[in-house]
Amino acid sequence: MIPVLLIVIPLVCGLAGFFIKSSRSARDWSLIASIMTMVVSLAGLVIHPNAASLVFDAEWLPALGSSFSVGLDGLGQILTLLTAVSFPLIFTATYRTEYKNANNFYALMLLSQAGLMGVFVANDALLFYFFWELALIPVYFLCSNWGGEKRVQATFKFFIYTFVGSLLMLVGIIYLSQHTADHGFSLKSFTDLNQRIPAQDQTWLFWLFFIAFAIKMPLFPFHTWQPDTYEQSPSATTMVLSGIMVKMGLFGILRWLAPVLSTGTWIWGDTASALCIIGMIYASLMAIKQDDLKRLVAYSSIAHIGLMCLAIFATTQAGMQGVMIQMFNHGINIIGLWIVVDLIERQFHTRKISELGGLAQKAPALAIGLVLVALANLALPLTNAFVGEFLMFSGVYGSAATKYNVVFTVTAGLSIILSAVYTLNMIQKVFYGKTNALTAKGRDIFFHEKMILALVVLVILVMGVYPKPVMDLTRGTVDLILTKMNFKL
């Protein structure tokens, strides 16, 4: 029942939200709704992993072989938890932002949460596709209506990109469903497909799925929508996009590509890994050149996602564990970064690094928060990202799936150095140095904003020191995926 509640609570609350007239009550309503979802999600963690309440099956389209089948395994748990935790964080952090037609804004945010939850719990390929698209529609309206100056064009580019990917994936899903034993869409029959599809078909089927996921992550060379969209979206939506939505791509590979078309994944593993590496280096270099804080974080996100994707294709226990942990951590870290950027933008009405400076004198609490989140972004030991990145690097290095494991590890390692360059550079220019006319009038952040940053930092440190619960949670899924992936034709 829990996965159903995770979808239904935000869905119903979102639909109801459209009819709330006052913007204040719409805001509180959505905050309460998101906290309810979080409670349900946490309850799901406490329940025994094999409990019946974690799965739900209902008849939906028997003629097509599709059913409304949802469930939570380790991978689903970690991502639904991320989604459930992020939304209250986002709503509180942007609590003071005033929106035009606030009720619609919050309602659409909740609907996108429902869509995301659906993606992460779906155990049926058609249902997965349904939610995959449904998560996109509210985001399209959110970005186009409440975004920056060039929002309509930027969002449209984003939409067309992802829609092309989704349609290719739809063709792939239909093709695979015709080849399953029961001509159905269930996850189980999909993961039994590898033996039934000859290697030469897997070589092209792989791309139908991979392009869709690569666009969503995004991977080089499918990334061009991302900096524009992040820059133009309202901050709250950017947090959803970069914190959670990009995980849809990684999740897609982990659930619907690697275990399903494992031979195809193995054949194209090196190519995909090379794309990841190119993207990491390229995005890091681009990030160094950026003057806009949002664009900087956007490019830094491409680099981090690239590493996670690389670790998936390494097909090792350590790497895969690292991906699971890092998917959660990256979400928290990047939302933390966006919160800081948003706080700066709301106070000074600019995101240009060159126009800021000396903020640490005026806003010490903000500076401490940013430095800690930024250090996590650099994967410094004791922070959460260290655990994930360390595991991923050791996974890539120890990979038996590729001949180029050393090359991959070394070049990917370069991006860590580059990320130190742009992150520290950003901290230095924004927070230290002399204040200028704009920042001299600065003030520190409010109490509830401090609390939010403290909460983010707390999660960062706890996950950095004691990641064991997450590892235990995802071990089963990791083993399952690896068993499927290591079976090649």
Binding site: L61, F156, F159, I160, L168, V171, I174
Partner: protein
Amino acid sequence: MNAIIISAVWGIVMMFSGLLTSNKSTVRYVAIGGIILLFIANLMDLGMGHPFFSIDTRRMLYFDTFPLVFNAIAYGCTLLYFLLSGRDIEQVGVNVAEYFALIFFVLCGVAIASSFNTLLMLFLGIEIISIPLYILTGSNKKNLKSTEASLKYFLMGSFSTGIMLLGITFLYGASSKGTFFIDEISLLGGPASPLFMAGLLLLLISMAFKVSAAPFHFWTPDVYDGAPTVFTSFMATIVKAAVFIAFIRLFFDSFGEIQARWQIFISIIIAATLFIGNLTAVFQQSVKRMLAYSSIAQAGFMLFAILTLNQIGRDGLLLYTAAYSVATIGIFAILVRMKDHSFEGFNGLAKHHPVLAATNTVFLLSLAGIPLTGGFFAKFYMLAAVVKTGQSLWLVIFAVLCAAVSIYYYFRVIQAMYFKDGEPQQIDSPVAFRVLLVIAALIILILGMFPQWLINTLEIPYI
């Protein structure tokens, strides 16, 4: 049988109602009453096996669940169309009763075209559909474009009718014992003579012309654009769907066994239709013209059912006609009431008419094939039908890329409505109109979540 006779009779009733009363509303109520009667009579024929009239048609007409379910869809859509746009039909000209009468004659043709069993009945059905449409297209006599469109439609339409007749003649000559019955024409896999193939191709061309498939689509944009907008709505939906049903019945029964011989032609037609329809729609400045090209593009998808000729495609075609017709009727109903038919005309609609904008968004999303709308499952069935055959996968990939292009022009309307500011405009939208639009949008959403509710009706046995 119920549908054919009642629609013909009601057409005559409508003509006389114009004589007896000069009150336009009364005429409209008579028409709405007629269509409800027609709908119910058709359902009685379908569900209970109660034809009111049992006439021995000597196998020339063939009644089964499939055509009757389609008739139900067509009449249901016409009912929706009358309710939404009935008042706008009154605005076109003075002879309101005649417009309704002509529409009922078209509906008679629809019923014949969906249940024919000989090529002669096919010809009769298509002609009964076409001739009233020529008149409806030119019904706005003061408008030069309407008259021009009517003449153009008439000339091109007669030409394609000629091609169809020639094809029928060839087929008659090619069959050994000389028959018009479509189930006897089929060669059961035997060798096809050049005469037979020529006849088949001529029939294919004339049907492609009627469903406005490229490269026989040239009449469509001008005729759809020139005709009074209310009648464009009718032509682009119910009429087009009916011709598609005739198309698939003809090919299913007559030429199914020699599918391999003509499949390549239809593949080329599909590719051309999708490409030209979608690409040209991108460059349109008027929403009405954009919808004309979009109807060509949608026809490209529907043709997949004819390419594959399997169960999924056939079921899917019914779903497609329902989802497409309801959505298009809805969009046209809103468009008719707007003064400016360009994209700019929709600017800021969401602010002043939120219900119209929201329902219009649902219709557009359905045409674009976004999940949760009927349009998604319609496209899904079409794609699944082709993938099931295991051939022509290139065409599937091409089709989805074209569908991605279609996002561009459908979303332009959404962008105009929601993200651009415009002058508040007077749109006549009484409560009943808005409620009907919401109902239409709900139908689309229900089809998008539970398409089997429509598909399962095909399993009702016909007694």
